[in-house]
């Protein structure tokens, strides 16, 4: 049985085997074991499912981060919660752990939190999303090889 959110200390070794060259910060950005466990769902003769999921994620994550940024500027907590919740879900599915964790923190933010805290978290989220996207793009490139 494979949990989408399963944690495993042995993943780094497998990650090194699967990942194509990516920025240094991208090494730990994605749980490669979890990502590659999705291969179990691959239907023979269908297009590569992992590539398809990565494409969906890259497009969606960019839109969500923009939404989160706009929501934080407008202090629209409903939109912020919705966008972070969504990004948390898709990140968790593909093993993008740190983005998912940051989304969880941002999801809990509201008007009682200082704007600086939100801004700091958002900055971190943008950085981690960039790193994860680079790592996923490298996997994508390698699979299409």
């Amino acid at each position: 049985m494979t949990s989408f959110g399963a944690d495993n200390n042995q993943r780094n070794g497998r990650q090194a085997r699967h990942a194509a060259p990516a920025p240094a910060g991208a090494i730990d950005a994605v749980d490669m074991e979890l990502l590659h466990s999705l291969e179990e769902l691959q239907v023979v003769d269908d297009p590569d499912l992992i590539v398809e999921l990565i494409d969906l994620y890259l497009l969606d994550a960019a839109q969500r981060v923009t939404q989160i940024r706009e929501a934080s500027i407008a202090t629209d907590w409903v939109l912020l919660k919705r966008a972070t919740h969504n990004l948390k879900g898709s990140s968790g599915n593909l093993g993008v752990r740190r983005v998912a964790e940051l989304c969880e923190k941002l999801e809990r933010m509201d008007s009682r939190d200082s704007p600086q805290t939100v801004a700091d978290l958002l900055q971190l989220l943008e950085y981690e999303t960039t790193m994860a996207s680079a790592a996923l793009a490298a996997v994508r490139q390698r699979r299409l090889g």
Binding site: T2, S3, F4, L53, N86, S90
Partner: protein, 211 residues
Amino acid sequence: MRVLIAEDDPVSRRILETLLCSWNYKVTTTVDGKAAWTALQGPDAPSLAILDIMMPGIDGLEICRRLREPPVSTSPYIILLTANRGVREIVKGIEAGADDYLTKPYDREELRVRVQVGARIIELQTKLAERVQQLEVAMDHVKQLQGILPICSYCKKIRTDLNSWEHVESYVADHSQAEFSHGICPSCYETTVRPQLESLEIARTLEGPGK
């Protein structure tokens, strides 16, 4: 069996679709609550729905509430999916009308067996509904005698619902599946039939042979 997936996150939606197709379900996907609600209102609506709670348009909880509003005729089996793990969220979901609940990240095998449970319950409900319909049709053909029947103390006719009086024989025949075969009971034979036969014999004797 047809399954509806209502999930606005494209990655989660694609994974769910792939999983369910691999388990041989026919899948319909929707990207928000409004589309899900529309799909569940159609004449050929899916009998099982996997709904994300947090969706644009109408959220998963609201869809549950609307589906369970009376009069409920046929309503799908609902599994709610959410990233919130709190007990209060689960209680809210079940109270809104969900049949089951899974938190993200979910285990694929757990999802498979929970969907299987849903499919089994739907199958049982369908069989039960068919049986009830068969029984209702059968009941329409069964005539019953019940309640207090007003009967005349002298002639033994029965007063009908239309306030007319009918012979017991025809009343019972009209209100039951009974059919009558005619005979004479020993008591009636002694008190009624035998005296009539004897009087006939006496008459013949008095008339004499050859007349």
